[in-house]
Amino acid sequence: MTLRIEHELHRRRFGRNLGLGLALAVFVALVFGLTVVKVKRGDPMQAFDHVARPELVPPQGEGEQ
């Protein structure tokens, strides 16, 4: 015999988990969207690991005299 009581508590827990899941999904979407906007707009963003840093490269013609 299976004893399966669906109490109001279980519904409340499910609602809480669902709400938290959705909140996290929205947060991820917001951070992703913000990253896309900032990168596309060319905001000053740079990493320091395995990423080219163009400002370190001297402009052409400089230092050739």
Partner: protein, 313 residues
């Protein structure tokens, strides 16, 4: 856990639903913060990318919500006594105080960090200061120690439009300060008119509101004086870069209405107010909400009309 109890009597589990955690963030206060911060951001001369603007307003609101949760954590003992607040998640036992503290601290950190990433460091710093001011200066210190609690504490509610402005411009200006002062000066008459008809609540909880420490006559006097003091700040905004004829006309009408209400409250004695169930005080309290909403609405109207050459002077 008690949810395995054989007879199914599981109603008092102390487990909160998602809505209880949302209630900790004071959604009604958040809606006002969203509106004023959004106006502060939209009336600023420098435009922001719509998505970045949306995120900025969202995290300003989340910061306000976080401070609301911390306030509920600290004030749970008062909330348990007051009729108006005893159904809140902590006093009703649905949320544990530690959960509210954890949620408040986590969301405070998250909102400040995200605002920094989305907008700029000054905006994030102002948001952090606002949370600190509301929780530590107002809730922990002033609220229980002085009848001037809401006069000084009102600053916390006044910061959002300034933060919105700083998100867009990166600096504080006269316009941002006037938007701040509009809310700052509006807060005392707004809350004191509420305190006049909610006095027994504050008295029971031992909160030294002006009505409790100095009586209702003094509070009525203060409402009138503070409303008069509010008028120049409200009108001055009309003559800045974010004001214009629409704002001036709306502001003049609203200030006349608020002054009339404050005068009506001042004229009344306690016997008359108790006799008619504080009709005037309740009406002025409701009008004060409209007063603030329409002032910021008028600023938004001025900014919206500018592209067509209509807004502003």
């Amino acid at each position: 856990m008690s949810d395995t109890h054989a007879n199914g009597a599981l109603t008092e589990t102390g487990e909160a639903g998602f809505g209880d955690y949302v209630a900790l963030l004071k959604p009604r206060v958040m809606s006002l913060v969203v509106f004023t911060a959004m106006v502060g951001l939209l009336v600023a001369p420098q435009g922001m990318h719509p998505f970045v603007a949306l995120i900025s307003v969202l995290f300003i609101a989340l910061g306000a919500g976080a401070s609301g949760a911390l306030n509920m954590w600290w004030d749970a003992d008062i909330d348990r006594v007051m009729r108006r607040t005893r159904a809140r998640p902590i006093p009703s036992g649905r949320v544990q105080p530690g959960e509210a503290l954890g949620l408040g601290l986590a969301l405070s950190g998250l909102s400040v960090m995200m605002l920094w990433l989305a907008a700029n460091a000054l905006a994030a710093l102002l948001l952090a200061f606002t949370i600190f001011f509301y929780v530590v200066i107002y809730s922990m210190w002033l609220k229980r120690s002085t009848p001037q609690n809401i006069v000084i504490g009102g600053a916390a509610g006044a910061f959002p439009p300034m933060i919105g402005w700083v998100c867009a411009t990166g600096s504080v200006s006269v316009e941002a300060c006037l938007m701040f002062l509009l809310i700052f000066m509006w807060t005392p008459p707004h809350f004191w008119s509420l305190a006049l008809f909610m006095n027994s609540d504050y008295q029971q909880a031992g909160v030294p509101m002006l009505t409790v420490t100095h009586g209702k006559r003094v509070t009525r006097n203060h409402i009138l004086v503070y409303t008069i003091a509010l008028v120049p700040f409200a009108l001055a905004t009309a003559f800045t870069s974010i004001g214009g004829p629409i704002y001036l006309a709306v502001s003049v009408l609203l200030n006349l209405g608020f002054l009339w209400g404050a005068w009506a409250i001042w004229r009344r004695g306690e016997a008359l107010a108790e006799g008619d169930g504080y009709t005037t005080e309740k009406a002025v309290f409701k009008f004060s909400l409209l007063y603030l909403f329409l002032h910021f609405g008028a600023l938004l109207a001025e900014a919206s009309l500018k592209p067509w050459g209509l807004g502003g002077w």
